[in-house]
Structure formats: structure tokens, C-alpha cells
Amino acid sequence: MPNRSLKTYTIGDKVLVALMLLLCFITLYPVWYTIVISFNDSTDSLRGGIYWFPRKFTLQSYITVFQDKTIIKAFRVTILRTLIGTVTNVLFTSMVAFALSKNHIIGRKFYMILGTITMFFGGGLIPYFILIKNIGLYDSFWVYVIPSLFNFYNMIIFMAFFRELPAGLEESAKLDGANEIVIFIRIILPLSLPVLATIALFTGVYHWNDYFMGVMYTNKQDLQPIQTFLYRIVASASASKTVVAMPAGVAAQQVSSQSVRLATMVVTTAPIVCVYPFLQKYFVKGMLIGSIKG
């Protein structure tokens, strides 16, 4: 940042600050509005005119959300896939990276070429879908875990990190008779917490926010994550042209389903939004290593 010697604020500075404030407002307001409506009485919301705060405050939508068995189940799927998916991805990817960070191993060059090709070519959605069906992952919880077990891109980031670690520790462990698996678990992993955290955060956000796998690879309602559940409501809402022209009963149902939808959205997003400001250092770092390697 240019360290200006003059400390007076010009008109340019003021315009700039105003612009940035406007941008912050545009960014925050839609989120704030969603929260406000989700806390407002659903029939009252229909009258419009709510902009800043709830007019008729109620927790009804949230009570509905937390009593809905389907929603609870969907949250459970999301939490499970995020936890299991993230832990297994980080462990598996870093394990492969540890092996490939050793220049001397047989076939390393070949392995790396195999991996690099995958960054440029892929089979595409349909052959992938057929594969998932063929290997029996369709309609199985593990479809969220096994196909996301490994990521070549992240593997390269891990590899670069492992190479910077001092070789001495590993050497002495080897003299004590430890094999590479023990070394990896006991020595390498504890030393790599910053990079593990960074990759885990990205993978975790991916799992938390992904809805498409639940649409594509499962038909069972019990297996749909919360984002897929939301997707189905949102998609049907965007296609329905009008609320007013419907029979009263249907319209009322639509309205209450809107506030329940908003409440579900708030509950779904809250964990990430509350956590990211404190972890943004890691996110930014991850984004930067990623972009340099790419």
C-alpha cells in the first residue's frame, strides 16, 4: 500500500470511501434482508414494506425447520459428509503427496504425468455418472466420500509443503527403525498442520455447499444433503409464476414455505458465515498457493 506522506484527505479519497461503503451495503443487504424475513411472521411478510427489521417478530419458521424430520435428516447427511469427506480427503491426498514428494521412488515421473493429464482431460459428466452406477456408488452415502477422496491439485500443494520440511527428523526416525507409514503419521502430519488446515477448510466448504452430487447420484431422500433439499425447493419456487392467482390455501402454503425456506437457508449458511472471518487468513493463503501452482 502506497505510504503517502501527505495525510490530508482529498475529494478522491472521500469518493473512494463512499464507493467502498456502497459496495459493502450491496454485499450485506441481501443477506440481512433474508435474515429479517426469516424472523418475520410469514403472512405479515406478504404485505410488503419490510426493509430493515422484522415487523412481526416470530421464531415460527425456525421451529418448523427444527421439527421437520426431512430437514433434520438432511442436516445430518451434510454434517456427516463434511466431516468424513474432509478428514478422509486430507489424509488420503497428503499420504499420496508424501510418497510422491520423494524424488527417488520408482515410477515417480510416470505417476506425475498420469496425474497432470487429469488436470486437462476428463471423461465428462455422463461417462462419470455411468461409472458411479457401474461401481455401485449410486444411492450410497459413500458417493460423497470416495469420489472426493483425492485431488491432484491439492496433492501438488501438499507435495510442495513436504519438500520444505527438514529431512533430518525423518532420517533419525528411519535409523530408529520406523517405516514410512509410521514416519508419515507420527512426524510429517503433525508438522504439516497449517497446510492441512488450509486444504481441509476448502474441502469442508466444498462438501458443505455442494448440492449437485445429491441431485445426480442419489434418488433416496434419506441421502440428500441440506443443499440438495434446498435446491429442490428453490428450483420449484423459481418456476412457479405467481402466488396471488392461486387458490387461497395453496397461496398460504407457498408463503409459509417461503419463510421456512429462508430460515433453512439462514441455518445452512450460518456456520460458514460465522466462521470465515476468523479463518480468512487460511482461505486467502490457500487461494494464493493454489493460483501460483495453477
Partner: protein
């Protein structure tokens, strides 16, 4: 020394010595063979007559099944003749090109502006807020959009109140608004996040350059155009190449949420079309052919963009 010792061992001995490392590496290779290479092999269905989902990819039945007409290229030819072809290409490239000309440069502008903010604290706060939308999923943003843009939603409420329109409408049900919705919502979501790379590049610029420019009497604008922009042009170029390579990749996550049969004439992009052809129409071979056409076209674009930028300013991806 070590090198010489290694050469004396046979291949088998070396392999045994590093067996644990090999197991670790080969597990990763096995994963890639299944989840990256098997689908590549699966592309064969694009050249088969009409693949049925019940036939396993790795079976004699599949290999022996009939090939498509026209030397296997029947489905590709069919796609070019398809009445949806022009529409699909227009939507895909139209949305992507507008994104390239609007949503690509704006994060650079934002980064330049933010860099000019003097208060460090204020800058940090703006930055943190600007990341927020990136962490919302497209489903959640889709939910916000359907709420705002519905007939009784906030957007219409304001328009009606200010007398601009007499009666609101559900914007997502009309094709003519679709592109604007897609482009603006993408901008809202990713503006701050995309600026990270540029801000990092700007932070790496040698401060003495600015010092010297100021002594020479260069104003703020002059400094931006003569120092900041040229210093980050390498970063811009690399990201530009990648963006051009992705022109055929409409943001599937986004469009899949906002797409519906009513706005289909402006929202049917290659990816959506492929999905519907396969998952609703069960025409797997045809869908795979469209998918393959897309990857090949994307790769060619990436290659050309790389070549051109290499010529112009000597920065390239590979």
C-alpha cells in the same frame, strides 16, 4: 554416493526397499485410474449406437455393442444438425463472453480501488465483507434471488412503489432477463474473492517505484497506470488465459439452480443441455458426444489463448 549405490540394486530390490512409499503412491494412482481414467475410457459411448445404462462399461457386451453410424460420429453430426444447437451455443458463449468482458475486469478495478484506500483497518473490513458472498452456496443465492425477483418480492415492491412498473413479475420465469440475472449475481458473489489474487500481486510491488514516481511528480492515476497495472499484468494474463479456456464452461452450479423450463430459451447452455439429454431423455451416447465436443473445443481455446498471449506480452500458462 547414494546415486551409485542405488544403481547397483536391481529393480525388484529397489521396489522392495521402498514398498511402503510405493503402496502410498499406488493407492493414489489406483484412485485416479478409477475416477479419472475410467470415465475417459467411458467416452467410447459417444461413438456407440445407443448406449443403455444397464450395460456395464467393462464388459464384453459393451465392447461388442454396435458402433454409431457415420464411422462412429453419428451423434456429433446429429448435434450440429440439432435445432437447439445454435441456441445452446449462443447462450453458452453469450453468457461467458459478457462475463469475460464485465466480470473479469471488475475485480481488477476493485483491487486497484481498494489498494488506494488509506485506512488499513477500513480496507481490511471492506475486504472481509467482500468475501462473504463467496461462501454462500449457489443454492442459497438462488433462494435469495427467487425471493427478491418473485412477483411480490422486494425488487418488484420497490419498482411498483416508485411507479416504474404497474405490476411486478417473476423475473426468473421470463427468458429475456436470464442473462442479466446470471451475470449480476455472479458479479455479486465473486467480485471480492476474485480480487484476492490481484491484491496479493499488488502487495508484492516494490514500494520504491511509487516513491520514485512521486518525486517525479506522478499523480495517483498516473501511478496506477504506470506502475500498478504493468506490475500485475502477468497475473492478469494468466487468469485471462484460464478464463478464455473456460468459455465453454458456463458456471454449471449457478445456471443449474436458476434454470427452469420457462426461461429455457435463454438459459439452455451446453452443460444444461447435456444434463437434460442424458438424465431426462436417457440419450447417453448423444449426451456424451456433446460433452466430448465441449472438452475438445475448450482445450483448443485454451491453446489458442495461450499462444496469442505468448506472442503479445510473453506471458503464458505452458
Amino acid at each position: 554416493m547414494k546415486q551409485i549405490q542405488l544403481h547397483k540394486k536391481t529393480f525388484f530390490q529397489r521396489f522392495r526397499d521402498e514398498k511402503y512409499l510405493q503402496i502410498m503412491a499406488l493407492l493414489g494412482i489406483a484412485w485416479m485410474l478409477v475416477f479419472n481414467y475410467a470415465p475417459m475410457y467411458g467416452i467410447i459411448i459417444a461413438f456407440k449406437k445407443n448406449y443403455r445404462i444397464t450395460v456395464p462399461l467393462f464388459s464384453l457386451e459393451f465392447l461388442k455393442s454396435e458402433w454409431a453410424a457415420n464411422g462412429g460420429f453419428y451423434h456429433f453430426i446429429q448435434f450440429f444438425k440439432d435445432e437447439e444447437f445454435v441456441n445452446v451455443m449462443t447462450n453458452t458463449l453469450g453468457i461467458s463472453l459478457i462475463k469475460l468482458f464485465v466480470n473479469f475486469p471488475l475485480p481488477i478495478v476493485f483491487a486497484l480501488f481498494l489498494n488506494e484506500v488509506r485506512s488499513h483497518k477500513f480496507k481490511k473490513v471492506v475486504q472481509t465483507i467482500s468475501y462473504l458472498p463467496h461462501f454462500l452456496s449457489w443454492v442459497v443465492l438462488g433462494g435469495i434471488l427467487t425471493t427478491w425477483l418473485s412477483e411480490t418480492g422486494l425488487f418488484n415492491e420497490l419498482l411498483v412503489k416508485s411507479g416504474i412498473v404497474a405490476q411486478g413479475k417473476t423475473y426468473l420465469a421470463y427468458p429475456e432477463y436470464f442473462w442479466s440475472i446470471v451475470i449480476l449475481s455472479d458479479l455479486w458473489k465473486e467480485l471480492g474473492w476474485s480480487a484476492i489474487i490481484y491484491l496479493a500481486a499488488i502487495a508484492g510491488i516494490d514500494q520504491e517505484l511509487y516513491e520514485a514516481a512521486r518525486i517525479d511528480g506522478a499523480g495517483r492515476m498516473r501511478q496506477i497506470f504506470s506502475i500498478t497495472l504493468p506490475s500485475i499484468s502477468g497475473t492478469i494474463t494468466i487468469l485471462f488465459i484460464l478464463a478464455v479456456g473456460g468459455l465453454f464452461n458456463s458456471n454449471f452450479d449457478q445456471i443449474f439452480v436458476l434454470w427452469n423450463p420457462l426461461n429455457s430459451s435463454r438459459s439452455n447452455v451446453i452443460d444444461i443441455y447435456t444434463y437434460n439429454v442424458a438424465m431426462r431423455g436417457m440419450r447417453y451416447s448423444y449426451a456424451a458426444a456433446i460433452g466430448l465436443f465441449k472438452s475438445v473445443a475448450a482445450f483448443i481455446l485454451l491453446f489458442i489463448a495461450n499462444k496469442v498471449t505468448k506472442k503479445i506480452n510473453e506471458t503464458s500458462l505452458f
